[in-house]
């Protein structure tokens, strides 16, 4: 459920570090909470992001959620397939459902991210709160 080779945020993003690049997406927990994803508002290549900044929007049938950049940096690539197939986020959150690749400006920020074990442990408390997060109109 939570691959060991990734880093995680408390906002349910994952990060795959490859050299100076960070590939970013949302976790399996996040896609389950969102339900059917039907639209993704992607950033533009070249956008400069601060860590914690909202850089994409995921819309499911029931909700609208911001995606926050786990690191500071510059957007190098976006997953254009999500424009036509937003459901890839549900089907393959760690694979074809990736959102963007960011050139990492400050590698020390990676130290603040969670390991798979830490992330999984953080979800135990979260699940009790989940009824508060699901809001329909």
């Amino acid at each position: 459920m939570y691959p060991k080779d990734l880093l995680y945020t408390s906002e349910h993003e994952w990060v795959k570090v490859e050299g100076s690049k960070a590939r970013v997406g949302v976790t399996d927990y996040a896609q389950k909470e969102l339900g059917d994803v039907v639209f993704v508002d992607l950033p533009s290549v070249g956008d400069t992001l601060a860590a914690g900044q909202a850089f994409a929007v995921i819309e499911s049938v029931k909700s609208v959620s911001d995606v926050y950049s786990p690191v500071s940096g510059t957007v190098q690539a976006v997953n254009d397939r999500l424009s036509d197939s937003p459901e890839l986020i549900n089907q393959s959150p760690y694979g074809d459902g990736w959102i963007a690749e960011i050139e990492i400006a400050n590698p020390s920020e990676l130290e603040r991210l969670m390991s798979a074990e830490e992330y999984e442990a953080s979800l135990v408390g979260e699940e009790k709160e989940e009824s508060k997060e699901d809001k329909t109109e």
Partner: protein, 410 residues
């Protein structure tokens, strides 16, 4: 609102077992979906879905004065209802604002022994169980308005609000009672093209369903449970709503899922209930209609019967009918992939002309859709407007409702 702990339906443990995701709605903790909203939506359009709607409020209006009281306090005409017939109607303020939108059933006569649930037995006298007896009514109200409606109706009889004298009716000497039976009733809805086939497998007499037409109801047993069986719903599909005693809710829920398993029945949450009703342009109280909107603005003129005699809100609604409404509820279909949501501006010629009152993704069209109010100039079908989503304008076209053909059985 709903600061207090949300209420749960008697079937909460059944939903939990089915893997429900939960939401809070109208002061209740309700399933929003089990599998996926899109899958559940398609299941209702193509096969059959089962909803627990026990959050809805039920109020019995019985007694010799009941029909006159309802004729005065609602916009439709309950005097037109025969036994076992239903109508959609509104409660309005003296200025024509909508207090609630309600389905009103005139309860049917009892045809077979053992078909009357406790919730009905407790409040209907022997005479009211006969076809010739005085009419008794069941009003089904929105969960969030349940207490408000009870208070509104009770106050109308003892301390009516100020209103034009021509709208006022002296309380008749004939008595009537309001019985709040919301806690006693489990309401399940079985909706979709296979609904009748599934329901007939567990209903006695099974043939009775064939004779039951849209917006009619009768007593019967379903899975051995006494029920009011109504051919009503909020999805645009053929289907039924079943009002049973609280303690029988679980038996009925499991029996219907079992009876429908060969037809691919799914339990359906409030998420799909919302997308299904939006495609039909059915208004949702609190989103599309409230005390600041009138039935005429909301396109519900067909439930306002001006010629039936005085009723609360009549003068204001007559005046609005004569002068014409300043805004109308329309349904719009997005022309790009953006998804409109409740509260965002509707823009025409660079000016905000209204707001989206309900918005979301239509699983049937695969596009964003919205309900909202616009001035009549922008309301004709085909009009192109924009909606503003996260600071950007996205084109939307006013469409003819419903967006998918209704399959209700006339």
């Amino acid at each position: 609102m709903a600061q207090a702990t949300p209420r749960v339906t008697p079937l909460a443990s059944y939903h939990e077992k089915l893997g429900a995701r939960w939401t809070e709605f109208g002061g209740w903790r309700m399933p929003v979906h089990y599998s996926s909203i899109i899958e559940e939506h398609r299941c209702v359009r193509e096969r059959a879905g089962l909803f627990d709607l026990s959050h809805m409020g039920e109020i019995i209006v019985a007694g010799p004065g009941g029909v006159d009281f309802l004729a005065w306090s609602t916009t439709n005409d309950p005097r037109r209802l025969g036994p076992g017939q239903a109508q959609y109607t509104c409660l309005c303020t003296p200025t024509g604002g909508i207090v609630d939108d309600v389905v009103l059933y005139r309860l049917p006569p009892v045809e077979a022994p053992g078909t009357l649930p406790q919730w009905a037995l407790a409040h209907l006298g022997a005479a009211q169980q006969q076809e010739s007896g005085p009419p008794a009514f069941l009003a089904v109200v929105n969960a969030a308005n349940h207490e408000k409606d009870l208070t509104w109706w009770r106050e109308l009889t003892i301390h009516p609000p100020a209103m034009p004298p021509e709208d006022y009716v002296e309380p008749a000497l004939k008595p009537f009672d309001l019985h709040d039976i919301g806690d006693d009733v489990v309401l399940l809805a079985l909706q979709g093209p296979a609904a009748q086939e599934v329901l007939s497998r567990v209903t006695r007499p099974a043939t009775s369903l064939d004779e039951l037409t849209y917006y009619h109801c009768r007593w019967g047993t379903v899975a051995g449970v006494p029920a009011l069986i109504a051919r009503t719903g909020y999805t645009g599909e053929d289907g039924f709503e079943l009002y049973v005693d609280r303690q029988n809710g679980g038996t009925l829920w499991e029996a219907l899922l079992a009876a429908g398993s060969s037809r691919g029945i799914l339990p359906v949450g409030l998420g799909a209930r919302d997308t299904l009703r939006m495609e039909m342009k059915y208004a949702l109280y609190g989103n599309d209609i409230d005390e600041t909107t009138t039935p005429l603005e909301a396109g519900l003129g067909w439930v306002v019967k001006f010629t039936k005699g005085p009723f609360v809100g009549r003068s204001a609604l007559v005046a609005q009918k004569v002068s014409g409404v300043e805004r109308q509820l329309v349904i719009m279909v997005m022309q790009d992939r953006a998804i409109p949501r409740h509260g965002i501006p509707i823009v025409a010629n660079g000016q905000a002309v209204g707001r989206v009152t309900s918005g979301g993704f239509s699983p049937s069209l695969g596009k964003g859709i919205a309900l909202g109010y616009v001035p009549p100039a922008w309301a004709p079908v085909g009009t192109l407007v924009d909606v503003e989503i996260r600071g950007e304008l996205h084109p939307a076209r006013v469409a003819r409702a419903p967006l998918v053909p209704a399959h209700i059985r006339r």
